[in-house]
């Protein structure tokens, strides 16, 4: 007899288990190969897209009024930069856009003319309107191709920019490949006509949104941005670091691929969990098979087969099952390449082509097969421990000479539980592999569940990690308005729960780094609701400061260290009292008291109110209530309808709009006017405005957080389902193998009057100690992985949702019980007689 015939026989006999193992190796290979082959693809796709655009690799933007020609000279003389060009552009900070669906979202945008665009890159156009239609357009606009890929725009769509109460309607002329400035995390570069550019140059004239000068060039390896900033400061004789922003290939790529790479890492983790489970399952099964077929082994050995040859029978069986799964996984990966390419294209916002990565698929497939072979071989070798005499006696290990654990004589509880516990304790060692599988899979399930629950309400979870009180609106008051009085007014509103008076945040320089800081000020941090130090404490004195975890990690500073901040030439030293997990402004925010901020900014006055809604009140309703109470904002007054009313009303309305424009766009604080119309003198002033502007985090939530939240939620839900299926397969394989091995015992028990349900209960209960301990260990692992995940990737501290962990533990335990119980169901189909005489 050829020994492989035994393998084929076993495979045929246990085909469901073979299919189960093939499924696990298929999933492993599929996920691993997706991660490995696409890791390269993500990077090459970005690089290809960047190359195709013909873009320079760096752009430095300076606010026009702070720009000096010397800045360009430094680049020319000090650094070996290539393709250096200069051009004007307009930076629009978080500006509202009415999308093609009518929804209002906010983007950071950079407007350039075609002439400037061609200085940055080739302006390679993609889909566009026919030239006949294009000629008819009054306000054409060219968007980066990511608007077509990710946001679903098509040529001819409307794209309306909303600024200071006015609407600027555009029509999408087409899309173009762009290297720099094409992502939600940074800015979108948008090409407009020269006429529209000139218009925007007058519209965007605030501190943050204004016309800029851009230097576009290919930086070499010797280019050191921090050094360049210092050289610019020296050349300008003032701190211009807050007025300059860099866009470069590295940041663009980081913003584009990081999230995808996190997904790939998660896929690899899932694949490894599945792989570990498969390997231990194979070990467990080979061990059981050998025990099960001990007499057969004895007979074969007695007939002259060497133990090595018999081992090969087990090896072939698992190599055939696992190997076919691995090969199918590899093939499946190649088949779903277009789908994966589509997913990457959507997430990258860039076109992805090609099927490169086949080498990775083959490599992973071979690796999986190799590891399966090694594992199976190591376990199958145990056949040599059973010479014929021992094997024919079913192996010495099946003889029990040891202590009788949990004797029934002393047991007083439910008989099924008693027998289950006895069965478990008697075979505890054989459950080690199962435990490892449950720990690995349980950890992945719990981590996925924690992440899913975190993103359950879309961006709500991320908002809680902002390190800011995000569930609020911010009322920016007009100059001269008394904040205490407004606070008293607002507190009378039923929609308002709390009002805190504070300073508006601003950017300041941090000595020794180009990483500027955004300052958040609170009179007393006890009034803040989402600003909690996870290390140290919040600042209490004027010379104290709290920093974000990312800054602490990147710059190596912590509690007790000093840092020097600079604003408008004033430098002040602060002592770090605490570190906070903060996503806001990429973790660059610093927190200080009112007195602390006033040390740096003598003229600062608290002119902003943070308004907290009552429970259940939506932010938009709160904003409406506040607006109703305090009157319209200066921002909203611009562009109001001037058609209605008599001449005096019209003049007053026009005057108020002009005042609003002066207040909003030119930093004017007080305006008085008088207009002589015939004999009539019409007068007024800016004191009618209480509120300059009302802001919230809505824009950032819609454009940056919700897409990430929804994608992660979808991914973790899919992972949750997939791993649950894997756990079910593992438990099914173990249980059905258990039932097969114990057929005779189960038959005897049935003969004694135990019903199928009793026996299924016993089998399910026997598995429970392993499941419970495994789940408990998995909970601890998931807790730490969750902490590490948020700390490493987002530099923030995850709140531990113990209730979720406990509920998931219970659900997982119930799931394990039910799956094991149902998997043992084949007992039902077999009569007592058959079971015993099998």
């Amino acid at each position: 007899m050829k020994i492989w015939r035994l393998s084929l026989f076993n495979l045929k006999k246990n085909r469901r288990e073979a299919i189960g193992i093939a499924f696990l190796t298929l999933v492993t290979t599929l996920m691993l190969s997706i991660a490995v082959s696409n890791h390269t693809k993500i990077n090459t796709a970005f690089d290809d897209s960047f190359r195709l655009s013909g873009s320079v690799n760096t752009c430095i933007r300076f606010y026009k009024q702070k720009y000096h020609d010397a800045f360009r000279t430094i680049l020319e003389k000090e650094y070996k930069v290539e393709r250096l060009q200069e051009g004007h552009l307009i930076y629009a900070d978080m500006t509202d856009v009415r999308t093609r669906d009518g929804d209002v979202v906010a983007y950071n945008m950079i407007f350039v003319t075609e002439k400037v665009e061609r200085k940055i890159e080739s302006f390679k156009k993609g889909d566009q309107l026919p030239s006949s239609e294009m000629e008819k357009l009054e306000h054409p606009i060219w968007l980066p191709s990511s608007f077509e890929i990710v946001k679903g725009y098509v040529p001819g769509d409307s794209f309306t920019i909303l600024k200071s109460g006015k609407e600027y309607p555009f029509t999408v002329a087409g899309f173009y490949e762009t290297g720099l400035m094409s992502n939600d995390g940074g800015s979108f570069k948008i090409v407009v006509t020269e006429g529209d550019y000139d218009l925007f140059a007058t519209v965007f004239q605030s501190t943050s949104s204004a016309e800029c000068v851009g230097l576009f060039f290919d930086a070499g390896d010797d280019f050191d941005y921090e050094e360049y900033v210092n050289q610019c400061i020296e050349a300008a004789s003032e701190n211009v670091s807050l007025s300059m922003t860099r866009y470069c290939y590295q940041y663009e790529k980081y913003n584009a691929v990081t999230f995808l790479e996190i997904f790939m890492m998660m896929i690899i983790c899932l694949a490894l969990v599945t792989f570990v489970a498969s390997l231990f399952l194979i070990r467990h099964k080979i061990s059981n098979d050998i025990e099960d077929q001990m007499q057969q082994i004895g007979v074969l050995e007695a007939l002259g087969y060497r133990s090595k040859e018999i081992s090969l029978a087990y090896l072939y069986e698992y190599v055939l099952a696992g190997g076919s799964g691995a090969v199918l996984g590899g093939i499946l990966n190649i088949l779903i390449t277009p789908v994966v390419n589509f997913g990457i294209r959507m997430m990258l916002g860039r076109n992805v082509v090609g099927t490169d990565g086949i080498f990775g698929v083959i490599l992973v497939t071979l690796l999986v097969i190799l590891v399966v072979v090694l594992f199976a071989l190591l376990k199958a070798r145990q056949v040599k421990n059973y010479p014929p005499v021992i094997a024919l006696r079913k192996g010495i290990r099946t003889h029990h000479f040891g202590k009788n654990v949990l004797p029934l004589e002393r047991y007083r509880g439910n008989v099924n539980l008693g027998l289950a516990l006895k069965g478990f304790v008697g075979n505890a060692k054989s459950f080690v592999g199962v435990m490892i599988c449950i720990v690995a899979a349980g950890t992945a399930i719990l981590f996925s569940a924690l992440t899913f629950v975190f993103f359950k309400d879309d961006a709500k979870g991320l908002l809680s990690m902002m390190g800011e009180d995000t569930e609020t609106i911010r009322v920016h008051l007009m100059s001269g308005v008394h904040p205490e009085q407004v606070k008293e007014e607002l507190l009378k509103l039923p929609e308002v729960r709390k009002v805190v008076i504070t300073h508006e945040g601003t950017n300041v320089s941090v000595k020794g780094t180009s990483n500027d800081a955004y300052v958040t000020v609170f009179d007393d941090f006890a009034n803040a609701e989402q600003i909690k130090a996870f290390e140290g404490r919040c600042p209490e004195r004027a010379d104290e400061i709290m920093i974000g975890l990312r800054r602490s990690r990147d710059e190596g500073i912590g509690v007790g260290d000093a840092m020097v901040l600079e604003l408008n030439g004033i430098e002040k030293k602060y002592i770090v009292t605490g570190v906070i997990g903060s996503l806001h402004n990429g973790g660059s925010t610093v927190f200080m008291t009112k007195e602390g901020y006033e040390r740096l900014n003598y003229h600062a006055r608290a002119g902003m109110l943070i308004v907290y809604p009552e429970k259940g009140v939506e932010l938009k309703d709160l904003e409406a209530a506040v607006t109703k109470r305090l009157g319209g904002t200066a921002k909203d007054a611009i562009g109001e309808n001037l058609e209605a009313g008599d001449l005096e009303t019209k003049i007053q309305a026009a005057a108020e709009e002009k005042i609003a424009t002066l207040l909003m766009q030119y930093g004017v604080t007080d305006v008085d006017y008088a207009v002589q119309v015939g004999d009539q003198l019409i007068t007024g002033n800016s004191r009618g405005f209480v509120v300059r502007e009302i802001t919230s985090y809505e824009g950032i939530i819609k454009t940056q957080m919700i897409p990430i939240a929804r994608m992660t939620k979808g991914f973790t839900l899919a992972a949750l389902i997939l791993i649950s299926v894997i756990v079910a397969v593992i438990l099914y394989l173990i249980t059905s193998g258990d039932v097969r091995r114990q057929r005779q015992s189960l038959g005897i028990m049935k003969g004694l009057g135990y019903s199928s349900r009793d026996l299924m209960t016993q089998i399910a209960l026997k598995q429970m100690p392993v499941s419970l301990v495994g789940i408990l260990i998995a909970s601890v692992c998931a807790y730490f992985i969750n902490q590490i995940f948020w700390a490493v990737l987002f530099a923030t501290v995850a709140e531990t949702k113990w209730l979720v962990i406990i509920l998931m533990d219970l659900a997982l335990a119930a799931f394990c019980y039910v799956v094991t119980y149902l998997s043992a169901g084949k007992i039902k189909k077999i009569s007592v007689n058959e079971l015993m005489t099998e």
Binding site: H399, L408, V415, G753
Partner: protein, 253 residues
């Protein structure tokens, strides 16, 4: 006159083998009386064990009725049959079928605990029965593979009678034992029977059959002979053997 405890009407049992239907029990009518020690004999393949398993609710018939203590059991589901077996039937098998991973005492208690709550009385009863069969206190903690065939079968008998079943079924209980062990085991059966236990036993061994009060002879799935004897020990053994031998010879044994 003893009352009927088990009755079959037109009982049929067949097996399908490679598409061929093999009829093992054919329209069999039978009545077992309370307190009887009934032995079923017949040549190999005559359907003895099949009949025993059908009678005891271990297997389901294809057709016909089985009335156990007046209750029809042939349409019971597997779980209903399991519950039925708990209180009503005890089993002793040729291969004993002790649970390998349990001690002697635990094997007995496993059979008992599905019917009764664990108590000191139950444990005492189990130990007393084991002692009665000749096992010693030190044997109670032994595992099946540490017992001789005869010792194992004694444990099997105690496990079968611990719940005081209405009928004790036995399938060639001495089939794998040497003559000394067989005799010990049969003595236990006789003892149990004298205490009023109804027994239905399948055997092909004359010495075993001598212990019965009734011998049924099975051929081609039907009962072709029914022979009655007094309770073992109440008559002359030689005469008993001669009578049974003649009956069996008449049956073509």
């Amino acid at each position: 006159m003893a009352s009927s405890i088990l009755k079959t009407e037109k009982l049929c049992k067949s097996f399908s083998n490679g598409g061929l239907q093999q009829h093992v029990i054919k329209n069999l009518d039978l009545e077992i009386l309370e307190g009887d020690f009934t032995v079923i004999m017949g040549s190999s393949g005559s359907g003895k064990s099949t009949l025993l398993y059908a009678l005891s609710g271990m297997d389901k018939p294809n057709m016909g009725r089985i009335l156990f203590d007046g209750k029809e059991i042939q349409n019971f589901s597997n779980d209903e049959l399991a519950v039925f077996r708990r209180g009503n039937c005890g089993f002793v098998f040729q291969s004993v079928y002790l649970l390998d991973n349990q001690t002697v005492l635990d094997n007995v208690l496993t059979g008992a605990l599905i019917v009764q709550k664990n108590s000191a009385e139950l444990v005492s009863k189990a130990k007393a029965l084991l002692k009665k069969t000749g096992l010693h206190e030190e044997d109670f903690k032994k595992y099946p593979n540490q017992l001789s065939g005869g010792e194992a079968q004694r444990v099997g008998i105690v496990r079968a009678i611990i719940n005081d079943p209405k009928i004790l079924f036995a399938d060639e209980p001495t089939g794998q034992l040497n003559s000394a062990s067989s005799k010990d085991v049969l003595n236990i059966f006789s003892e149990v029977h004298k205490n009023g236990q109804s027994i239905v036993m399948v055997t092909h061994d004359l010495k075993t059959a001598l212990r019965a009060t009734r011998v049924l002879y099975l051929r081609d799935g039907g009962i072709v002979g029914d022979y009655r004897m007094p309770v073992y020990g109440e008559d002359d053994l030689k005469e008993r053997r001669n009578g049974l031998t003649k009956f069996l010879e008449d049956m073509g044994w």
